[in-house]
């Protein structure tokens, strides 16, 4: 098991002062803070100024058939998508996880490309695989799936074997290419 990273209590206190009480929890030494979608950009921008200068990853979890509601906080139970922003500080090596929950039919969060350039492709990947829109993203195209693809394959209602999109891919013959 990895050693416990240093505590991030002072940052959490500053967060609470600025944005009111945000539900947070600790698991295996990792602090997670749940941020409402409307405040996500402000909170992330605030954290960046407080030293969390490295955006490690943006990913997402689809809670469609999760057996228990997202454990961290009962208040967020019932949401479908939980975005994960993994932040780190290159100076103090602290880590912080920010969770933002969004829902159908139009899951949207504000893009953080203006804060971290790393977010560009990470957000494109989340859009591609989960269909979550990032408002204000400069170039929100699919990243790994082909442009013609219509579904978002990492959603839980998308089957492992696909829905046959592959058979509809256009075939380019030699003299057409």
């Amino acid at each position: 098991m990895p050693s416990t990273p240093p505590s991030v209590d002072d940052v959490l206190a500053a967060l609470a002062e600025q944005f009111g009480d945000l539900p947070s929890s600790v698991f295996r030494g990792q602090t997670r803070v749940v941020v409402p979608e409307s405040a996500s950009h402000e909170v992330l921008s605030f954290l960046k100024e407080r030293g969390f200068d490295l955006l490690v990853d943006i990913s997402c979890v689809d809670y469609l058939d999760y057996r228990e509601s997202p454990m961290e906080m009962a208040a967020c139970a019932g949401h479908r998508y939980g975005l994960v922003y993994l932040l780190a500080s290159t100076a103090t090596n602290q880590r912080l996880t920010i969770r933002v929950f969004v829902d159908d039919p139009e899951p949207t969060v504000r893009s953080v490309v203006s804060l971290w350039k790393a977010a560009n492709w990470l957000e494109r990947e989340v859009w591609d695989l989960f269909g979550i829109r990032f408002a204000g993203h400069p170039d929100l195209r699919r990243l790994v799936m082909p442009e013609e693809f219509t579904a978002h394959p990492l959603r839980k209602d998308y089957p492992l074997q696909g829905r046959g999109e592959r058979h509809n891919f256009p075939v380019i013959t030699r003299h057409e290419s």
Partner: protein, 411 residues
């Protein structure tokens, strides 16, 4: 067939009939090209030989590894991680099971920790050998590449003796390893530790002060410290730009806290600095291997029966009731081991950068979500920034120095 036209960030396209952009030449580089080494595609906008802009495309090797991760058990998925960064599969195995063990809260045995450290460092050496070798190859130093590849073969031999597989090792298990290290393996690693410094010396003599190589890499693809952090670079790419971040020191996992080694950094941030950092890191890795190899603790490689994740030994199965129960429960498809309904992230310093897995467990023996944080994606996104203004021949130098592995990139 309609393919969406590529959009370039920096070029404004007016509606007028004649655009200055029309005089640029568009070149498709890849997805099948010897110098991309794997299937990735670049659309380059050239003005003469100078690259005005580049548009990296990926996804040609997308195989849905993260989706598969939701359908394979924690032990089965290790075979898929082999195929992510296939240049150093051992490091991926270690990363995956490090993440699983963090989620489960398992403390490994001291012997397992040390063995994992050794193989992770050998994997780093073999990855850096290939990366630097390929940079040499792409910039015209073929002999150098062969020196590097010969040593990779030696490491493959060590892995083959260790676990029976040369390439896709699948060596780790939840809470342990598939096999213990035998005296023969230790002997092979020991002789590698003895002979390898001579090869590094030879390699450095061949290339480090080679005029052609230095001219082609120095000042090419410069990444500043601020850009490296903002763009999420990790590993040797970030360290070559002056970001002193190495998870082996900053968040010591496995047995790294016990060893004496240096974090290799450079400040120039160009292709040459990345080459130098990788060269020096191989020496440091060798130091770690040498220290670890002479002090492997005795004892079991797997966690005990109490944790109920790794299979018990045959002796325990046949002579104790706990061993029998544990063996049956772990082998039955409807039992397996207990996973908390929780989420955690754990990363290791892989040869390429921070390789982490964000796991969501739902009590099942398969992960609810197995997100891989691949360093290659963020490094590939750096590419247009690094290549703008350089010549076409620098494309391969920059691409090689970022060490992009398409299988890890696309997953």
């Amino acid at each position: 067939m309609s393919i969406a036209p590529p959009r370039f960030e920096s070029v404004e396209i007016p509606e007028a009939a004649t655009r200055s952009e029309d005089y640029l030449w568009t070149l498709n580089f890849g997805p099948q090209h010897p110098a991309t080494h794997t299937t990735l595609r670049l659309v380059l906008k050239l003005e003469g030989e100078r690259v005005v802009d580049a548009l990296p495309e990926m996804g040609y090797l997308h195989s849905g590894f993260e989706k598969i991760g939701e359908h394979l058990t924690y032990n089965q998925y290790v075979t898929v991680t082999d195929r992510m960064n296939y240049i150093s599969p051992m490091a991926n195995n270690v990363a995956w099971h490090h993440a699983v063990e963090t989620l489960l809260g398992i403390e490994l045995t001291p012997r397992c920790k040390v063995i994992r450290t050794i193989i992770a460092e050998l994997a780093r050496i073999s990855d850096h050998l290939l990366c630097n070798g390929a940079v040499g190859l792409d910039t015209g130093a073929f002999t150098f590449f062969l020196y590097a590849f010969y040593q990779r073969e030696v490491i493959y031999d060590i892995f083959e003796t260790l676990c029976g597989a040369r390439f896709t090792n699948s060596y780790t298990r939840v809470g342990g390893l598939s096999q213990d290290m035998t005296p023969l393996v230790i002997e092979k690693i020991r002789s590698f530790v003895k002979t390898f410094p001579k090869t590094i010396d030879d390699m450095e003599r061949l290339l480090t002060r080679n005029r052609i190589f230095v001219d082609r890499t120095k000042g090419v693809g410069v990444l500043s410290t601020e850009e490296a952090i903002s763009r999420g670079a990790t590993g040797p790419v970030a360290r070559a730009s002056g970001v002193t971040r190495d998870l082996r020191r900053d968040e010591p996992y496995l047995a790294y806290a016990d060893y004496d080694f240096q974090i290799c950094c450079a400040s120039a941030g160009d292709c040459y600095a990345r080459y130098l950092v990788r060269m020096q890191e191989m020496r440091e890795s060798l130091k770690i291997v040498a220290q670890a190899l002479e002090n492997i603790p005795e004892g079991p490689i797997n966690v005990g029966i109490d944790q109920r994740t790794a299979l018990p030994t045959k002796q325990q199965v046949y002579s104790t009731i706990e061993g029998t129960i544990s063996h049956f429960e772990l082998s039955m498809s409807n039992r397996g081991f207990e996973v908390p309904c929780e989420e955690s992230y754990a990363a290791i310093e892989a040869p390429n950068g921070e390789l982490g897995f964000y796991l969501a467990g739902d009590g099942n023996e398969t992960a609810y979500r197995a997100r891989c944080r691949p360093p290659s994606v963020l490094h590939y996104a750096l590419f247009p920034h690094l290549i703008r203004g350089h010549t076409l021949s620098d494309v391969v130098a920059v691409l090689g120095s970022l060490n992009i592995i398409a299988a890890e990139l696309d997953r």
